[in-house]
């Protein structure tokens, strides 16, 4: 169970003035159950990349294997792939359309051809997973607050019970509490169900806190790919492409420069605190 990309290329609007190579020779493999973060400057190809994972965009060259099967092969069941790889777009609340939240969340399972009881069961389950309050189930999705709309939309994808969940900046435009809630629930899901989670984010703090592995995209190419500590140790290179390391990493570097005996690879506040305390004890 994995996603594997081999020499993947993608060109936007070939043959026109808008022609642009959005992805250049991407090779990577994401095993089942991994929590992966994708970071990159605006226009670096992140969103283009993730739209390949469920076959929404067809690569101009190269191959994509899901569970060992080439999805561009003849007769490949795209619908099956799309129910396995759930994709939550940026501002997913803009896709809500039904008369009430529950029916909207049922849309995915209904398209999978399930019975209406099963749809509703899965919808309730998904809404519960994202912490959506039951009293709003029968309310119009257009009357909810921004955070609740976002939850309902994410539930709409989870209700299909995907084995891979791809989230494109799921926290954009949310307040800090809404952001933490949603990411904590995603982490919870990941831990309990062995779901692969691929998170696209602009927040280095969020990425450092949740993911096992970071993929850095720059101008359509994979720039770094590795554990957060290793990737953020290249913080000078990241800055050159408009990214950065988490704030605490900079603080650790500054402390070290002032003569404190600390390791500089902390990426979360908790780690940094521990490291500083340790250095005082030494």
């Amino acid at each position: 169970m994995s996603i594997k990309l081999e020499h993947l290329n993608y060109v936007y609007s070939p043959g026109t003035a808008y022609e642009k190579q959005a992805l250049k020779d991407i090779n990577l493999e994401i095993p089942q159950g991994e929590f992966v973060g994708i970071i990159g400057h605006t226009g670096s190809g992140k969103s283009t990349l993730i739209q390949h994972f469920n076959g929404l965009l067809k690569a101009s060259g190269g191959a994509l294997y899901y569970n060992g099967e080439n999805i561009y092969g003849d007769g490949y069941n795209m619908k099956q792939l799309r129910s396995q790889v759930g994709l939550v777009f940026q501002y997913p609340e803009h896709q809500l359309f039904e008369v009430d939240v529950l029916s909207d969340v049922c849309f995915g399972p209904k398209n999978q051809g399930l019975s209406s009881e099963e749809c509703e069961k899965r919808a309730r389950e998904a809404l519960e997973l994202v912490g959506f309050p039951e009293k709003y189930y029968r309310q119009s999705p257009f009357e909810l607050s921004g955070g609740q709309k976002r939850r309902a939309a994410i539930a709409g994808v989870l209700a299909m019970r995907p084995s891979v969940l791809v989230l494109d900046e799921p926290t954009a435009g949310l307040d800090p509490k809404g952001r933490d809630d949603i990411l904590n629930q995603v982490e919870h899901l990941h831990k309990n169900t062995n779901m692969t989670v691929i998170l696209v984010s602009h927040s280095m703090e969020d990425i450092a806190r949740y993911v096992d592995r970071i993929i850095v995209m720059n101008q359509g190419e994979k720039m770094f790919d590795g554990k957060p500590k290793k990737v953020f140790s290249h913080y000078r290179d990241l800055e050159k492409v408009g990214l950065a390391a988490p704030r605490v990493t900079y603080i650790m570097h500054a402390l070290k420069a002032r003569g404190m005996n600390v390791r500089t690879d902390a990426t979360t506040v908790e780690e940094a605190a521990k490291e500083i305390i340790r250095s005082f004890h030494d």
Binding site: G15, N54, F89, H94, Q95, F97, F107, N111, F142
Partner: protein, 274 residues
């Protein structure tokens, strides 16, 4: 997918046509469209074809791109051509089958209609491909300026047009995004019969309308926040000024129109296509 619709979009390139004053392009396009309708001889259409070909060549917009703009009108074209072909009763009968009969006149008229419609779209898309929406509105406003005297709100109309034009690519992009989001949730937008397909569009149309209203609301608010109050007393940062190449363009179109008139008047016999 839906981004393939190119009609009404600006195509950035460096060409003389792009740099022309928008008024010139509007008036020339209008004259070209008129030229298509005031004549019906093969020679006239030949001249129109050469003229259009030269303009397209100079504009550096790929022909493929312009032809793509014809896609949305294929149905209209087909219906128009078939109706004229089968329902024209005048002329000499060439072919008869059940209630259909094709006459030589019907054949010719449908051929002209097709050419006119195709050139009409191509001619006007050259204008929109080479003129930014802003420049286009500026041009329209100036061209229609005399109508202000008879109390036509020219500025407001121009503003409405420019907003509508500006929103075409935005809404197309939005449609593309929503379609993808629903396809990702397993929506099937392509197969099924007519009714099923219309029903399948609901999950796309509802969010699209919601987003269009949201955007309209935001824009109105932003305009009011900047004290927009219509055209009265409004001045331009970059007023339109005619330059040498603009006069040259007028000269070319006048020459072209004279040629078309001449062909229409003085080429004595009706040279029909068929």
């Amino acid at each position: 997918m839906i981004r393939d619709i190119t009609i009404g979009q600006y195509y950035p390139a460096r060409s003389v046509i792009h740099r022309l004053d928008p008024r010139v392009k509007i008036i020339c396009t209008l004259l070209f469209l008129i030229s298509l309708f005031i004549q019906r001889s093969i020679l006239g259409y030949l001249i129109a074809t050469i003229f259009l070909g030269m303009v397209i060549y100079t504009s550096r917009v790929p022909l493929k791109y312009i032809l793509k703009g014809l896609k949305p009108i294929i149905m209209l074209l087909l219906v128009t051509v078939l109706f004229t072909l089968f329902l024209t009763r005048e002329g000499e009968e060439l072919f008869h089958f059940w209630i259909f009969n094709i006459t030589d006149k019907g054949l010719n008229i449908s051929a002209y209609t097709a050419i006119r419609l195709i050139y009409l779209i191509m001619g006007s898309s050259i204008m929109t491909f080479t003129t930014t929406p802003n420049a286009l509105t500026d041009g329209i406003e100036r061209v229609l300026h005399p109508l202000n005297r008879v109390k036509v709100p020219v500025h407001e109309v121009a503003m409405m047009m420019s907003i509508a034009l500006r929103f075409i690519p935005i809404l197309l992009e939005e449609t593309d995004k929503i379609m993808k989001a629903q396809i990702a949730r397993g929506a099937d937008l392509e197969s099924g019969n007519m009714i099923q397909r219309v029903k399948a569009m609901i999950p796309v149309l509802v969010p699209l309308f919601v987003s269009a209203f949201r955007r309209a609301n935001d824009l109105a608010l932003a305009m009011e926040a900047r004290c927009y109050r219509g055209g009265e007393g409004r001045t331009k940062m970059k007023p339109l000024v005619y330059r040498a190449k603009d006069y040259l363009a007028y000269a070319v179109i006048v020459l072209y129109m004279m040629l078309i008139f001449f062909v229409g008047r003085f080429v004595p016999f009706h040279i029909w296509i068929f």
